[in-house]
Symmetry: C2
Subunit: 436 residues, 2 copies
């Protein structure tokens, strides 16, 4: 058997500490799977982690010492963020080390340059942990579904957001209240913007889309809408219509290019994806040969994320002493073989829509509204009109439209909002049948 | 770019024909993913398939010509069965060719010998298509979850059986009637024994268990019980108790060894696995680090199975011109590094049980039954007692027990069946919470 593979872990927080512990606890299994020992030979961390004693493993306060250590074959980057992490990963690559990272922002925003650099040095960058935590979705897309033309994918890829929407639905609690609880439980950061405004999901979506479609990472082109405006009313109305609201990342091949979008979405209640609750993640992928497949699991957390990091370490280790280190291309495709694909502007995207508005309780209002929609070529699939509340002069009116180009719908909605008989703005949310 | 990889397809039926067509339709994507062209250079088939025109590709009536063709780098075996397929695969291996197969029986029953033979010749045998069709579950277990100690897995891994149980539940139709329809729809073979008696599922389970736990393939040790005795009554009672009946393959690590069993199982209705319907497959895997993950998709059919075959072809092609062809060990582990693990006899397995019996409508009957269970250390979690039907002298009595060793329960059931106040035999089915 070859000599053990030397691992350097940079960052000893949640993911770094979890990785250290899983590698130790499962050392025998990991060795039997990799065909050689895998040993943490160096840890870089600004401070000790009381939850993760490091025993005899050398610890440096300067993480760059790990990138320069000749005993390190694979550097594991778990410090997060883009600035220092990028410099660290570049240093490791330049030193001929393979890199395993859980850093979605780093890959989504700087991946193109990092992969080029790694290719020129003949080293691997593995990033399974960057998307959907412990779910091996990168591997499924890059290898398991490699025979397919991927048509679309849709994922619940932010656990905090899904926890909030699940609690709102199950317990009828408002967004702010659940968000506060999520922060208390440690799901959401003190600054929850990344989670609730969809930036975290956009980072992950851009990685999935790149691998699925063979397009460069283009984070700036993702259309992103958060969940902070989803109200309890809409959760209940969606339910009544047979739908659930999920915060989805969607990438879809269309005639005009690739759609990349993160937004609250109504999906039919009986779909598996609609039944993924709490902090769990799931990704639904439609391939031309395989049809729909779904991957479900914990999208974050200490050991689920470590599971993906360790799988990457084993993957790299299995390929060591191997002149073709990157047996699988970083982003699934050998890029030069593919034509460029445009990303579709959100105005050009076609979906069905859920619309909710407050209309005066008068004859003729509904006909004005439906006239505007019909003039725009948009027809109505379902309608709920509620009795007015005592003392209210408006009634809630809820519509499900058929599929329409977003640009057309936005114009029609502006027309509806301009009606004297409609008060305030029209709430709108996209609907996805997720059936093909 | 290297020269194209030569593919020889043996068998041009459902899977072989699907593979041929997916390779042609997606040739550009496949090439971009593999980094080189992948070309079918030889087809071996006893007769043409009108659904799959082969154009200029040379076709031999003797499949062994394909195994002897120097232009073939990878032989794809899709003829099925064990006898000819085994000889064919051996010939291909001996000729230094890599093998991709969709043949679950071949791998489950002869895999140990074939892998040894392949290892001695330095070639790959890939078999993703052998389990759960297009779902990349072999890859997930062998690579994606490689950092985990797998605790257990439970899968709906026979589409025909799941279709039958789904129809029984949804439409209240009996087993025989739905089976006849499944045969008409082409889901079930003329001889449906393999599907409904669980042999097909046992083949797949033994492969999954081997990869998950690092144990040899031991098909003869799987406990197998089919679905032909599941009645509409039990489907309805299960529903009333908050459960659904699924035909599961379960592999579980226990203190006394590995449990390997295929049987009808009650699972809580809200679990994702309980909501996998029709011919779809899904496998739930519990790893010590990642927790539960689930993989869902089409478990059979022309192109879903071809999806897995083509993924394997790309996997092998990505590793060609590579001295370490088997970067990933065939069954996930380098075997010599692992201690032997015993397979647990079914009598030693502990599960909860659903029991249904016909009891005389008399005082004291229930207390006799519960006394027998309690004497065996088995307690009762839930009980349904129905009103007697007009004219009937017995009432249906349904019990959910707590977890008990099967040997003890079987004895207690024999005691219950011996009671004068209980008529006929006691229906029993295992219950799995699937929660950890």
């Amino acid at each position: 058997m070859s000599k053990p593979v030397g691992i350097g872990i940079c960052g000893l927080g949640t993911v770094g500490g979890g990785t250290y512990q899983v590698l130790h606890r499962n050392a025998d299994l990991v060795q039997a799977r990799a065909g050689r020992g895998i040993e943490v030979v160096h840890v870089g961390a600004r401070r000790d982690n009381p939850d993760c004693p490091t025993g005899d493993t050398p610890v440096s306060r300067d993480i760059f010492d790990v990138a320069d250590d000749p005993a390190v074959d694979i550097l594991v980057e778990t410090i997060g963020g883009c600035d220092v992490a990028r410099t660290l990963v570049e240093r490791a690559i330049d030193n001929g080390k393979h890199v395993v990272t859980a850093n979605k922002a780093l890959i989504a925003e700087h991946g193109n340059a990092l992969f080029e650099r790694a290719a020129s040095k003949g080293v691997d960058i593995a990033f399974e942990a960057a998307v959907a935590g412990g779910i091996p979705i990168i591997k499924a897309l890059r290898e398991g579904l490699a025979g397919n033309r991927i048509e679309w994918l849709a994922g619940i890829i932010n656990g905090t957001g899904n926890f909030i929407l699940s609690e709102m639905r199950d317990k009828g609690r408002g967004f702010e209240e659940v968000l506060a609880e999520a922060q208390q439980l440690g799901y959401a950061e003190a600054d929850p913007t990344f989670d609730v405004e969809g930036i975290d999901a956009a980072h992950k979506l851009v990685i999935l889309a790149s691998i699925a479609f063979g397009i460069p990472l283009q984070f700036r082109k993702v259309f992103t809408e958060g969940i902070s405006k989803v109200s309890l009313q809409d959760v209940a109305y969606a339910e009544e219509l047979g739908y659930r609201i999920k915060h989805l990342g969607i990438a879809r091949r269309s005639d005009s290019g690739i759609e990349l979008r993160v937004h609250p979405t109504l999906i039919p209640a009986q779909r598996l994806l609609a039944n993924v609750n709490g902090v769990m993640n799931a990704v639904l992928v439609e391939g031309d040969a395989v049809g729909p497949t779904l991957y479900y699991g914990a999208g974050a957390g200490r050991e689920p994320t470590a599971s993906a990091v360790v799988a990457d370490i084993i993957d790299v280790a299995r390929g060591l002493d191997n002149p073709h280190a990157s047996r699988v291309p970083y982003l699934a495709f050998h890029r030069s073989d593919l034509p460029a694909e445009p990303i579709v502007a959100i105005e050009e995207v076609e979906t069905a829509f859920y619309l909710r508005m407050a209309a005066l309780d008068q004859p003729g209002v509904l006909s004005k509204i439906t006239q505007i929609l019909s003039d725009a070529g948009i027809s109505i699939e379902a309608l709920i009109q509620k009795e007015p509340q005592p003392g209210a002069d408006t009634v809630p009116l809820i519509l499900l439209t058929n599929r329409a180009r977003e640009g057309l719908l936005v114009k029609a909605v502006a027309g509806i909002e301009a009606l004297e008989s409609v008060r305030g703005s029209v709430i709108r949310m996209r609907v996805e049948p997720l059936d093909g």
